[in-house]
Symmetry: C2
Subunit: 208 residues, 2 copies
């Protein structure tokens, strides 16, 4: 996998013709994600990614404004499948499934993920990349699923769905970034129960 | 205010006798909080704090295990009054008051606070200090107020109060650290409404 000719014109493969843009993008994102998880966001440079992916550094400069932008694009890409929002038609079940997977991921790679988010604070370029290439896209996917649930009558009309994102995934990030209580599946179940049932007395005693 | 004799034996004041430990602690935390808000957590050293507070560096070494621990102690101390948890007997009103003040603070000093939390990721000493000297204490104060509300019958028996902390303050930190949506008072009101009413259909339509 690893190539030493980082500056080689990777788009031209002798005997195999020009690599398709899609293949180059895939190879780049895979290499970037591997480097990111192995060494953290500060270690990610265009040179290292180009060498590992076997593509030219010029291509990376053309496609991504900064290594930070590439990092979050790679991060988003790597976790998109794992963190997909299922739709079985049962919003509470689907949220439970997705958030259990998220907690599993954080219990494995939490310190790398916290390091990435931490590095983005106080680094405006990285913060911009985190927001554009990760946060906004992830929120949109969550809100999309919640919108279908609201249309299906499983979430009250009038409830602000963006706020639900902060009360589920934001609550989980809180335990990652300001640690004090454990990140467990029981915690996820409590998050969902509190939010759907409500914590006030007289709120639903038996939930669907 | 600023003193240049950083190494002077600050506990002995000619003509005024020994400064009381409480005064020294107060002067140190005030100086540390000022430096923290002005220059960020990385700029905070025992030397600078000692010079500004007019206390000996030895005293700081004796009382705080690291500059990070001092930073969070100062941070906690500085915001303890501002971020107090009021108790008028009405939990929803009191949470609204406290969280509106919190959002105001973040809209003024958010980038400094995000920088402190960001720096703690990937720095185990700072992370330990953040947890011990800030997060655990803040959570305990919040849970204390929520416990009284639960005893007063304003929160259902059986609801896990630690989880509520993540769904209110954690949700707010989420918008600070992974920015995409605004930190407004309307957001706070939605957080509280969602959590108390519940978002499921059939949950409380009219809240107390």
């Amino acid at each position: 996998m690893e190539r030493t000719d980082a500056e080689a014109p990777g788009l031209l493969k002798p005997g195999r013709g020009r690599r398709r843009a899609e293949d180059v993008r895939h190879a780049t994102l895979t290499a970037a994600a591997e480097l990111l998880l192995a060494e953290g966001v500060h270690a990610l440079t265009f040179s290292k990614v180009a060498a590992r992916a076997g593509v030219s550094k010029m291509t990376l400069y053309k496609w991504w404004p900064s290594p930070g932008a590439l990092a979050f694009d790679a991060y988003f890409n790597a976790f998109q499948a794992t963190l997909a929002f299922p739709d079985t038609g049962d919003i509470k079940g689907d949220l439970t499934t997705q958030l259990h997977v998220f907690v599993d991921l954080l219990n494995r790679n939490g310190s790398v993920i916290a390091g990435i988010i931490g590095a983005a604070q106080g680094d405006p370029d990285l913060a911009e990349a985190l927001s554009t290439h990760y946060v906004i896209q992830r929120r949109a996917l969550a809100v999309e699923r919640l919108t279908r649930a609201q249309q299906a009558g499983q979430i009250r009309a009038g409830v602000d769905l963006e706020t639900i994102v902060d009360q589920l995934w934001g609550a989980v990030y809180h335990r990652l970034l300001l640690p004090a209580q454990p990140l467990t599946k029981e915690f996820i179940d409590q998050l969902i129960a509190n939010l759907f049932q409500g914590v006030a007395p007289g709120s639903l005693d038996s939930t669907t």
